[in-house]
């Protein structure tokens, strides 16, 4: 498998309403259907062309707005492998980690990345490779790392609850 992934690049303040419109939030549950509406009001070409492992690169404050978790899960269902941004809105960031989606803060990589270009993310060594350049990013906090390692908060809590029952 080619570790090079395709870049979808967007600007600042990509909000949850354009990632996953509010009108669908209480009625749409099927992941495939959710994926087909991902980024619908921002980039109508995204949902039909995104491929597994593709990476979204964006500017400041990605995911601002609503707490709706579908603004993360519609992307994971669409196959997005990671989101790299200058900064993230806090609830979106937590939702991403909680759903096992790496949300990586790396302004230098954002500056270099081009829409449609290729990128490699090395989670082990906290680096992003773009063309000939390597950009380091800060490791995740201990809790975030633990959650990402088991694939999300549900598994994380399941294990915690199990431990409490066992002990």
């Amino acid at each position: 498998m080619n570790p090079q992934k395709r870049i979808w690049k967007y600007g600042d303040n990509i909000n949850t309403d354009v990632i996953f419109p509010g009108k669908y939030t209480y009625t749409m549950h099927d992941p495939t259907e959710m994926a087909s509406h991902a980024l619908e009001d921002l980039d109508p070409t995204f949902a039909s062309n995104v491929q597994t492992g593709d990476i979204i690169v964006a500017g400041k404050n990605f995911g601002n707005g609503s707490s709706r978790e579908q603004a993360v899960t519609c992307l994971t269902a669409a196959g997005v492998g990671a989101v790299i941004a200058i900064s993230f809105a806090r609830i979106w960031y937590r939702n991403a980690i909680n759903n096992g989606l790496p949300a990586i803060i790396c302004p230098r990589a954002v500056a270099e990345a081009e829409h449609g270009g290729h990128i490699m993310v090395d989670m082990q060594h906290h680096t992003i490779a773009l063309d000939a350049h390597n950009f380091p990013f800060a490791p995740f906090s201990e809790t975030a790392r633990d959650i990402l390692e088991v694939g999300g908060v549900i598994e994380f809590v399941k294990q915690k609850v199990q431990n409490q029952i066992d002990s």
Partner: protein
């Protein structure tokens, strides 16, 4: 020696059962209240994966049906039915039916959260509860399920931004204009991860209802929570509203104030006297202009409501401006009170009669069309002036519609003129 602490440090130390916490560390906090709404059914599905029969502390949960209430489609109705089933299976007392109102307003009215407490809500505007000096933060659905299962959640102790208010608001200018001014000046990411803590002599000049606008809106600058220092007005309001007979003195004792000398990452000063009516233009909340700069912009829908500005004070000012006038041809005005108490008071005061005579229409207390579910969603090409807090593309149902955000004063003046209008032109103010 304990160093001087911010509000956020003190509140999170209390909620995690320690004497002191440092900024940037992660704590396991135990909230006093956990809020959810129409999303309760989705949270319950996640919760069911944990294999637990009961939520950890059912008395801590508070649940409202407000986001698509009454349900506009059979699918929405099914969602509500699932919420009701969960509520009855888990024996949850603090459940508020369709029509009671918007979660943040209802929990405030019911005094289900008090100064110095921690509330985590599966709603991004849970920052709201800072109006009374509580720590309110939004969480996702998985985290709400986690809280139901374990009663605790990891939270990072945020940096704090100090916003000092002096002076008093001029006529025709409201706390919404203060919020729009701040976000316009500072940008939608200024407060990312931060606790936005207000102080200064300007705070006590504000009514309770206009205080509620401020922390609610601070979600839009990315804040984790926001805080206004509670005063006697707040303690009295809460003790009157509490049906548990919380004594004013005990409410007061639990209030938290930042220490003199606490360390802030940024400091902002605003002289309320200098503010003017503001408008956030499509399609971002920080695209803010003065009302004069956008005056004349045609509007075909005015929406007065939401957890930001759907309270009695907001309906009262709209009534004053619309009294004896008619809403402009080609413009419609929707009024959705934030709660049943607001609606009842507005009826008793005669406001609703005046507004209906002017040609406005009324929706069931709740979120209304704020997030595009129902009761006034927009058509392509529609231009709406809303008193809400978000104007993102597609927010009210249609990506080809435009949403402007402003105060209730601007909303009412705009309804009369059919175009964005400076309310200070009206003597009735």
């Amino acid at each position: 020696m304990i160093l001087a602490q911010t509000f956020a440090q003190k509140a999170l130390a209390r909620a995690s059962g320690v004497t002191e916490v440092s900024v940037g560390t992660t704590v396991d906090a135990r909230p006093d209240r956990i809020l959810s709404h129409d999303n309760t059914a989705a949270i319950a599905k996640i919760f069911s994966q944990f294999g637990l029969e009961h939520v950890y502390e059912s008395e801590k949960l508070a649940i409202t049906l407000d986001h698509a209430a009454p349900p506009p489609t059979p699918l929405h109705a099914r969602n509500h039915a699932e919420v009701r089933k969960f509520v009855s299976d888990q024996g949850i007392n603090n459940f508020f039916e369709v029509g009671r109102g918007i979660c943040h307003q209802v929990l405030s009215e019911e005094a289900l959260i008090l100064p110095g407490q921690l509330i985590l809500g599966a709603d991004s505007h849970t920052t709201h509860f800072g109006w009374m000096g509580a720590f309110g933060a939004g969480v996702g659905r998985s985290e709400a399920a986690t809280l139901w299962a374990t009663g605790e959640l990891w939270l990072r102790v945020p940096e704090s931004i100090q916003v000092t208010l002096s002076g008093a608001l001029p006529l025709g200018v409201s706390s919404k204009d203060l919020c729009l001014h701040l976000i316009g000046q500072l940008g939608a990411d200024y407060g990312l991860y931060s606790s936005v803590e207000f102080d200064g002599s300007g705070v006590s000049t504000l009514s309770i209802e206009s205080r509620m606008v401020i922390p609610n809106f601070m979600a839009e600058i990315g804040a984790k929570n926001a805080y206004l220092p509670p005063d006697d007005l707040v303690f009295e309001w809460l003790s009157v509203h509490s049906n548990r007979n919380d004594k004013q003195s005990s409410i007061r004792e639990n209030a938290i104030y930042p220490d003199q000398g606490a360390v802030y990452s940024q400091a902002v000063e605003v002289d309320l006297d200098t503010l003017e009516p503001q408008v956030a233009c499509p399609h971002s909340v920080d695209n803010v202009k003065s009302v004069q700069a956008v005056a004349g912009q045609k509007v075909n829908q005015v929406f007065l409501g939401t957890c930001t500005n759907g309270r009695l004070e907001d309906i009262a000012v709209a009534t004053r401006l619309l009294h004896g006038r008619k809403i402009a041809n080609g413009t419609r005005m929707l009024i959705v009170p934030a709660s049943s108490q607001v609606l009842q008071a507005a009826i008793e005061q005669g406001y609703i009669t005046t507004l209906l005579e002017a040609g406005a229409t009324l929706g069931t207390p709740g979120c209304g069309p704020c997030m595009g579910n129902h009761m006034g969603v927009l058509a392509p090409g529609d231009v709406c002036l809303s008193t809400g807090n978000r104007n993102f593309r597609g927010r009210m149902g249609q990506p080809e519609a435009e949403i402007f955000l402003a105060s209730p004063e601007v909303a009412a003046a705009t309804a009369v003129a059919g175009m964005i209008t400076d309310p200070r032109e009206f003597e009735a103010l």
